[in-house]
């Protein structure tokens, strides 16, 4: 038995059995802040003792952050120019 095994053994005893397989499906609820008190407690206890799940959560957070940092695609120049042209004509109309 490794240290990890013992930790999870203790955890099962304290918080009721929550497997990693069940845990990973709770991640979005957790991140969205929609979990009620008890499930959140169990989630945290498992998280605190399980290295694999800690890494999993880190990866999900990194994934989300990286998606937020994706470069925005600006529309091609000719479309931008066309938009500006139409915008100008719209302004003249309404004036």
């Amino acid at each position: 038995m490794t240290r990890e095994d013992i930790k999870i053994y203790v955890l099962d005893y304290l918080a009721g059995r929550l497997t990693c397989k069940e845990w990973v499906e709770m991640v979005t609820n957790y991140l969205e802040g929609t979990m009620s008190f008890l499930p959140r407690l169990r989630f945290h206890l498992h998280l605190g003792m399980c290295l694999g799940c800690r890494n999993y959560l880190k990866q999900v957070r990194q994934t989300i952050r990286l998606m937020g940092e994706l470069p925005r695609q600006s529309p091609p120049q000719e479309i931008q120019a066309e938009l500006v042209r139409r915008f100008r004509s719209l302004k003249t109309l309404s004036n």
Binding site: T2, E4, D5, I8, T19, C20, K21, E22, V24, E25, V27, T28, N29, E32, T34, C50, L51, G52, C53, N55, Y56, K58, Q59, V60, Q62, T63, I64, L66, M67, G68, E69, L70, P71, L83, R86, F87, L90
Partner: protein
């Protein structure tokens, strides 16, 4: 252009961003109808997966014994062994883009609005007319798939 023309009608009941997004989705729908592009509902639903279907490959968990359903090949941290820089580079961004692109339409819509464009969940629900719970399930599936794609790219798992 629809946005500029309709700006007078904007009532400030929602944020400007939400409003622009709803115009875009409506335009897209109208165009779809006009061009008679019929997409069978099944193709939209297909591949989104069942709501109960696991989002992590079941083979990653132990299949028997006391530790059944605990990790057998657990995820590696990305920053320690493989610098996150790898994911920040152009190649990483391209890969991330591909992973998002490869998602079924509904999942793609939601993850782009939430995680790429940074809209709030209430905004997304309003624009797409889905319930909060449904939006969360779809977001969960989408994020899990993108994470998996990045993990494949990083190409490392640790075996116990």
């Amino acid at each position: 252009m629809g946005v500029l023309e309709g700006l007078d009608r904007f009532e400030g009941r929602s944020s400007l961003k939400t409003w622009i997004f709803s115009i875009l989705t409506n335009k897209a729908k109208t165009r779809g109808v006009r061009e008679r592009r019929c997409i069978p509902v099944s193709s939209l639903v297909a591949d989104e997966g069942d709501h109960d279907e696991p989002t992590v490959d079941p083979s990653r968990f132990q299949s028997s014994g006391h530790w059944q359903d605990y990790w057998s090949a657990y995820p590696e941290t990305w920053d320690e062994n493989t610098p996150e820089k790898r994911l920040l580079g152009q190649e990483g961004a391209a890969l991330l883009g591909q992973a998002i692109e490869a998602l079924p339409p509904r999942l793609k819509q939601i993850i782009v609005m939430r995680d790429v464009e940074g809209l709030e969940s209430q905004e997304v629900c309003a624009i797409l007319s889905v319930s909060e719970a449904n939006q969360r399930v779809l977001l969960h599936r989408a994020r899990a798939r993108v994470r998996q794609a990045l993990e494949d790219y990083m190409g490392r798992t640790k075996r116990k």
